[in-house]
């Protein structure tokens, strides 16, 4: 707990440190556990999606060089390719240096137990730091996974030392995330949800509706969709009365958009990064983050408020 005392209240971070691999990014508290994780994490979908193994390896190694120690993935990414690549390029040399998170779409406890075994085998490790129930989409979806005892399956894996933390991800409907937090309560250690500059203006905002509840419960809040699956960079959506430009850099800079994410009550900004250059840019933002006051946050939100409730940009709100 001594580490907690060093947390700077303006950034909610412990300043950057170093380990056997070199300089490490600032760290934040992983919910009520008190464990610390780097404020930036690698999103695994882009590791599996990278064109060729050497590119995937370069992204992983550049992330480590830049001080990232948090790695996300899921067995369903590219039919397992993301996990296999961690098994080839991350785990063999760096397992003890990083926090490793995967997910499962299991609908029964038996399936969850079995799928965790496949994740362990693909990544060539004997333990995973956190496993999330992947993409809870509705109250019914959460209720179904609960009735068929997915969490009980998780807990067996936890008792065997194969998993340390349990949680869920959800990017469709804040009601589903809140329902999941409610029905599973203290069984949930961690949750991954969308956090970006448009979200507070949406009629169904994860930042407004879900993040405070997670903080209250001591659930480690992980941020995803910080650029809406890259659509902030690529989708120039037509909005009445505005120039047709992409959100980044048309409305806000990359730095502003991502500092806004770091300014929220999150412990790790999980970002999909498709090149070592992208890793370096994000890591610089994470390393140099000095906090952002409410007025600045509000100004950034106002800059992109016209894009609210637009599923061409926030495409993850379509993915059931």
């Amino acid at each position: 707990m001594s580490a907690l005392k060093k947390i700077d209240p303006s950034t909610k971070q412990v300043p950057g440190s170093s380990d056997r691999l070199g300089a490490v990014l600032p760290k934040r508290s992983f919910g009520r556990s008190g464990e610390l994780v780097t404020n930036l994490g690698v999103g695994g979908w882009h590791i599996g999606n990278a064109d060729g193994e050497s590119t995937a390896q370069e992204i992983i190694e550049s992330a480590l060089e830049e001080g990232i120690r948090f790695f996300d993935t899921a067995p369903s990414y590219q039919d397992g390719r993301s996990e296999y690549r961690y098994g080839k390029f991350l785990v063999p040399n760096y397992r003890d240096d990083v926090f490793l998170l995967t997910k499962t779409k299991a609908r029964t406890g038996a399936e969850a137990i079995a799928e965790i075994e496949t994740s362990l085998a693909r990544m060539k490790t004997d333990r995973i730091d956190a496993v999330l129930m992947h993409a809870i989409s509705s109250n019914d979806d959460a209720d179904e996974r609960r009735a068929l005892e997915v969490v009980e399956g998780f807990q067996k894996a936890k008792e065997q030392g194969k998993v340390r933390y349990l949680g869920f991800s959800g990017h469709l409907d804040t009601k589903a995330n809140l329902h999941a937090l409610e029905i599973w309560g203290e069984a949930i250690d961690v949750s991954l949800c969308p956090v970006n500059a448009i979200d507070p203006s949406d009629s169904d905002s994860f930042i407004t509706n879900v993040l405070p509840k997670m903080v209250e419960m001591g659930v480690a809040p992980l941020a995803m969709k910080s650029a809406a699956y890259g659509n902030f960079f690529t989708q120039a959506v037509e909005i009445e009365g505005l120039d047709t430009v992409p959100v980044i850099p048309g409305r806000v800079s990359m730095k502003d958009a991502f500092e806004f994410v770091l300014a929220q009550s999150i412990c790790c900004w999980v970002s999909g990064m498709d090149s070592p250059e992208f890793v370096a840019k994000n890591a610089k933002i994470a390393r140099e983050f000095k906090g952002m006051d409410k007025a600045r946050c509000d100004a950034i939100v106002a800059q992109v408020a016209a894009y609210r409730d637009n599923k061409e940009i926030e495409i993850y709100r379509r993915w059931g």
Binding site: S76, E111, A114, T118
Partner: protein
């Protein structure tokens, strides 16, 4: 080793005729197995049902597809671990196996790249299907991904995990799925020929392809897999076009709706053997 396959087939039996046989006297006394080594194909169901759309469609449609397939005589149900991120397997587990496990021939497939993954991936498939055995389990000789052009090669020893699974009673048969280029399959057949019960090939693969010639020579069942994109066209052209060509022992059809299932089944009624 061929003997072992014959013995295995003898003890298993399958298809409608062998189901009857099971009811009357047990399949251990099945006779008439040819001496040319072609025994595995004799017991393999002729027409299979593709599980892809069971995962891809809404849950009500999925149940209707399964029930219509059963009503119309399908009993060979094919699947793959990666279809719709596992949803196809889960839905067989929720809507097919609880009611019909003892009446069906259940096949699934893994995209494992390493032996250690294949050793546990079958347990995941069994858990999703809510059963303790498969009738047939296949590995991919090369691993493609439908959303891009990257193709991966499994390690050379992945098939050994399937051999272990069969010995452990988790699956009755084991085999290999290939794409148009059969180079990797040919290499695997060379190493594991005596252990391979079946191969699954694109139905467009030439009868003179080296892998098919090898399988015919050694009595390995050849299952055709229909190209899902092309299928709607040939479904219209009548039942003959939907039946396995001479070089295929079995054929998995991709029927997208209960209407397509019923339509195909009514056309197949007039054919020798129907859906068997």
């Amino acid at each position: 080793m061929k003997l072992s396959r014959r013995e295995f087939t003898r003890s298993l039996g399958f298809g409608i005729s062998s189901m009857t046989c099971l009811a009357l006297s047990g399949c251990g006394k099945r006779t008439g197995i040819s001496e040319n080594g072609n025994s595995a194909s004799a017991a393999f169901p002729k027409i299979g049902f593709d599980g892809f759309f069971v995962g891809q469609r809404g849950v009500d449609d999925a149940q209707a597809l399964i029930e219509t397939a059963i009503e119309n005589g399908f009993h060979f149900f094919d699947n793959a671990t990666t279809y719709i991120e596992g949803r196809s397997e889960r839905r067989y587990g929720f809507y097919l196996t609880p009611k019909y496990r003892d009446q069906i021939f259940l096949q699934s497939r893994t995209k494992s790249r390493t032996k250690s993954v294949a050793q546990v991936d079958i347990d995941l498939t069994l858990a999703r299907h809510q059963t303790d055995y498969l009738d047939s389990y296949l590995m991919n000789s090369v691993v493609p991904y439908h959303r891009d052009h990257q193709v991966e090669m499994p390690d050379e020893d992945v098939f050994e995990a399937l051999i272990e699974a069969k010995k452990g009673g988790k699956t009755k048969r084991i085999g290999i799925r290939t794409r148009e280029d059969t180079t990797a399959l040919q290499a695997l057949l060379k190493t594991y020929e005596s252990e391979v019960d079946c191969v699954m090939v694109p139905n467009s693969l030439s009868p003179s392809d080296k892998a098919i010639v090898h399988c015919k020579k050694h009595g390995i069942t050849v299952i055709g897999a229909v190209d899902r994109e092309a299928q709607p066209n040939w479904l219209k052209s009548g039942p003959d076009a939907a039946l396995p060509q001479a070089h295929l022992d079995s054929w998995v059809l991709s029927l997208r709706t209960p209407q397509e299932v019923a339509s195909f089944a009514s056309k197949a009624k007039g054919l020798k053997g129907g859906i068997s």
